[in-house]
């Protein structure tokens, strides 16, 4: 079993400050990632100077437990960067996807 002690310890930080788990930009899938990544932020008027990228592997660019880049991301598809970027403000119906217990939990902390 792959226990994550770091995540367990940091859950308290997250409960105290839920915004710590929020992204600055959201894309649907890995192949929607623009290069340079600064393009993600110029849209909302933020000036960034991104020089390095830390990349997650499992279920990001590779199938979980695979060492290879997921085939479709090697070959790629037509870039549709900006059409599929989700601005945080346009997220809809969040509550419907949350079960009652989770909703209650984050109501009390958020």
């Amino acid at each position: 079993m792959n226990l994550n002690l770091s995540a367990s310890v940091n859950i308290f930080k997250l409960l105290a400050k839920p915004s710590l788990c929020l992204p600055h930009a959201t894309i649907a899938t890995f192949d929607n990632l623009p290069v340079p990544l600064d393009k993600l932020f110029t849209q909302s008027g933020k000036k960034t100077d991104i020089r390095a990228v830390v990349l997650d592997k499992d279920d990001c660019f590779a199938y979980p437990e695979s060492s290879q880049v997921y085939d479709a991301y090697k070959v790629g598809r037509q870039p549709s960067y900006f059409s599929s970027l989700h601005r945080p403000s346009v997220f809809t119906c969040p509550l419907e996807y949350m079960d009652a217990k989770e909703t209650e939990m984050f109501r009390s902390f958020a």
Partner: protein
């Protein structure tokens, strides 16, 4: 004109050498990948360096910063020059925010969510059972971001220490 974009290759080209770094809670995580065999495998398959780290995400920010300090050719002088790309809020995005970096959330992972829940739920559950990172949790976690955004919360903005 349709232009095929090799997205992984494009990323490697835009962030060459050590400017692109894979940080995984499986490959390269010393408690899971004890002999570093997985990390070597991923490195060979992708041509991208895999960080060998003691603490898992979200707590390995100091190990990531130490890596970039050790490799000044990357041009990284502070966490605000780093973006963390990943599918998990509680690990990848939290890592970004705890480091003071930019977080880019890959909302749907490799397999789109809709497809995941209908077609491959059982197979992904079966796959995950060996190294459980709680697939149920990672799925319900997705709804947390829109919920918090709707409540007016936003990720803390990285700032340059020189500004």
């Amino acid at each position: 004109m349709l232009r095929k974009q090799k997205c992984f290759e494009a990323l490697r080209e835009a962030y060459p050498g050590r400017r692109l770094l894979i940080v995984s809670n499986t490959a390269g995580a010393s408690s899971w990948d004890r002999d570093g065999k997985l990390a070597a495998e991923v490195q060979k398959a992708t041509g991208v360096a895999v960080l060998s780290h003691q603490v898992k995400k979200p707590g390995c920010g100091h190990e990531i910063m130490a890596y970039f300090q050790k490799h000044p050719e990357t041009g990284v002088t502070g966490p605000h020059q780093i973006a963390v790309v990943g599918d998990r809020l509680a690990t990848d995005m939290m890592l970004a925010n705890m480091m003071g970096s930019w977080g880019v959330w890959v909302k749907d992972g490799v397999v789109p969510h809709q497809q995941k829940s209908i077609v491959s739920t059982m197979s992904s559950l079966a796959r995950s059972s060996s190294h459980t990172d709680a697939p149920q949790f990672s799925r319900s976690e997705r709804s947390l971001a829109p919920y918090l955004f709707a409540r007016g919360l936003s990720a803390p903005e990285p700032s340059s220490p020189f500004e």
